[in-house]
């Protein structure tokens, strides 16, 4: 065949006219017209491989076999980005669901292999863009595990403070979009208001609203700015009253409860089998929070509660996140009170660039600075898996080092990616009108799903 073949469906699966070296070049493939699709994609479109809950779906499929397959997304506004769902419907009842993902795939794990450990944070921070601090943190923790460096307490506490502040903004994002998905557009504005305030504080600390790259291997990029306590306290003081407003606006409202209670239920066994973590697992009454059960940073020194649900429905997942905001406020207040003095990064010359002032007076410091920022620092050979509790669940980083200054392999276990697999179970047997509520309650961030 030639590239001018007018009929794309007749094109064979193998192109045949390009050299193999060209075809493994992603750039070259991107420039190719999409005419090699063949029948595979078409087969998928008709839903022959809608898979999860198939046994159940087969049991109560209508006898006349008249089901409808519809597509939801990837441009649907309630799919939180570019999630596409193939739904098999019997009337208005959802039988099978298949999430189709990959629309936001940018090869970040491959990119991670090209960046040094210093640059790596700029990459991982863009994965889960609603909670970038956690992605930076887990990458830094994995690299530090391989390096074997011990952080000064202040660095640990600054990280914890940023994490909890980020958990606030992430949960406010959830509350806002969850409200909007269910038709409460005032909640959208309220949630956004609180989130923006939180982002302003993050900006005053890190310099950026999002994609901070503030948590670096060996500590943080800078110390906390002057007056951070007052700013943060003032913000935290406004929140309890506003959370009470949310309770009035949503939790205690009959329509809100009717839309969420008993919708999209999942049992503990199902959640464990499907690898679901975070609020989805906790909504089933299973008290598993890495901050409490396998503490990292200084979470074993602060006082907070792990919020669990009972029924595993959308309402529980909403209530868990709302109350986790209160717990984060508790932790933040303890951070303000107990922030230790000291250094914000480890004074290990192999990892840490010299202070700016030293560069002006010392040739060695300049060389040292130059080496770290061009060549990077070398990380000993080995592999490590480190995980933190992100607002969405267990966020893990599997890092393999070959002893050079770039990771040999960097894999992020994104909680949204795994949690998305519970969607078919949550949706099964429910109404199509509840689909939006269920997607929203899983709170997927597509940047992390597709990476």
């Amino acid at each position: 065949m030639t590239t001018t073949d007018p009929n794309p469906t007749d094109a064979p699966a193998e192109p045949g006219h390009r050299a193999l070296a060209d075809l493994t070049d992603e750039g070259a493939q991107e420039m190719e017209p999409r005419r090699f699709a063949g029948g595979v994609e078409v087969l998928r479109e008709v839903g022959s491989v809608l898979r999860m809950s198939e046994a159940e779906a087969g049991a109560d499929a209508p006898e006349d076999g008249e089901t409808t397959i519809i597509n939801m997304g990837p441009q649907h506004p309630s799919t939180h980005g570019v999630l596409r769902l193939m739904l098999e419907l019997d009337g208005e009842t959802v039988l099978r669901t298949k999430p189709v993902i990959g629309y936001l795939h940018t090869g970040m794990e491959k990119t991670g292999e090209q960046l040094t450990y210093l640059q790596g944070g700029t990459n991982t921070t863009r994965m889960d863009y609603a909670s970038p601090i956690f992605n930076e943190l887990v990458f830094a923790l994995a690299a530090e595990e391989l390096l074997g460096v011990e952080l000064p307490p202040r660095a640990t506490w600054i990280r914890m403070l940023l994490c909890e502040l980020n958990r606030l903004t992430s949960h406010f994002l959830f509350l806002a979009t969850n409200g909007m998905d269910l038709g409460s557009s005032s909640m959208m504005i309220y949630g956004w208001r609180e989130r923006e305030e939180g982002l302003r504080i993050l900006e005053s600390i890190t310099g950026l609203r999002m994609n901070h790259n503030f948590i670096r291997v060996g500590g943080t990029a800078a110390d906390l700015p002057d007056g951070w306590q007052d700013r943060l306290s003032a913000y935290l003081d406004t929140l309890p009253a506003r959370l009470e407003e949310y309770e009035v606006l949503m939790t205690n409202q009959p329509i809100w409860r009717d839309r969420l209670q008993g919708v999209g239920t999942i049992s503990t066994e199902e959640a464990l089998a499907l690898g679901a973590t975070g609020p989805i697992l906790r909504s089933t009454g299973y008290a598993w929070d890495l901050r409490r059960e396998m503490p990292y940073l200084a979470y074993d020194e602060v006082d907070f509660d792990v919020i669990v649900g009972t029924y595993g429905d959308c309402f529980d997942r909403y209530a868990i996140r709302l109350n986790e905001v209160r717990e984060s406020i508790k932790i933040l207040r303890q951070c303000i009170e107990r922030m230790p003095a000291g250094d914000y990064r480890v004074q290990d010359k192999k990892v840490t660039p010299p202070p700016r002032a030293r560069i002006d007076e010392s040739m060695e410091a300049l060389i040292h600075h130059f080496k770290i920022f061009t060549e990077g620092f070398k990380v000993p050979e080995g592999e490590a898996y480190v995980a933190v509790e992100s607002p969405r669940g267990e966020l893990g980083c599997y890092l393999v080092s070959d002893g050079s200054s770039k990771p040999y392999r960097m894999h992020i276990r994104g909680p949204s990616f795994v949690n998305l697999q519970v969607l078919p179970h949550l949706m099964h047997g429910g109404l199509i009108a509840d689909a939006v509520a269920i997607i929203s309650s899983v709170d997927p961030i597509m940047g992390e799903v597709d990476r």
């Binding site: 493939q29 699709a37 998928r44 080995g382 898996y385 267990e394 040999y408 392999r409």
Partner: protein
């Protein structure tokens, strides 16, 4: 790809008793205090089933590494290194521990039995490994590409896959 020396990691915390060489009948290593089992492909499913009955209830992660360009030195002596390695991470909520399984997969036959029957949550992760590494999971219900387009050629996370670049057209520059 030869790795004859057993792991001697200087950052391992000193332990009272020497680490056993076998755990559940498969070689074990303890890099940095993390417990890592090295089952063969044939042993994998049986081992994961045994572990699940012992309380390793959740499969957190399935991923792979292509060791084409990096000869490892951290494998136990009895494990023959292969090009690919499938890495499975399990968690026990009662023991509050994670456990890693590293399975050697040869380049000539990149297949691994699926864990889908034991942990349905591995479904998407195995598809991701298949998509990006070209390692097939036998018995998987729907082994298709998950992140990349259906018609993509090659498996990008393999080390012999070019990073690639997209030509950018600048003003006044000759086009490609």
């Amino acid at each position: 790809m030869s790795a004859s020396e057993p792991t001697t990691d200087e950052s391992v915390a000193p332990e009272a008793d020497p680490a056993p060489v076998l755990d559940h009948g498969v070689p074990v290593s303890h890099p940095r205090g993390q417990r890592v089992l090295h089952p063969s492909r044939e042993e994998l499913v049986g081992l994961v089933a045994t572990l699940r009955d012992e309380g390793w209830l959740m499969c957190l992660d399935v991923t792979a590494v292509d060791y084409l360009a990096h000869p490892r030195t951290d494998l136990p002596e009895s494990v023959a290194p292969e090009r690919f390695e499938v890495v499975v991470t399990l968690i026990s909520h009662t023991e509050r521990q994670r456990l890693r399984l590293r399975v050697q997969v040869p380049e000539s036959d990149p297949t691994v039995p699926t864990l889908f029957e034991l942990h349905p949550g591995t479904e998407a992760m195995e598809r991701e490994v298949y998509d990006l590494f070209g390692i097939a999971f036998t018995g998987h219900p729907d082994l298709t590409r998950i992140l990349l387009p259906e018609d993509w050629h090659g498996h990008p996370l393999r080390k012999d896959h070019a990073v690639g670049s997209i030509p950018v057209q600048f003003k006044d520059a000759p086009s490609r």
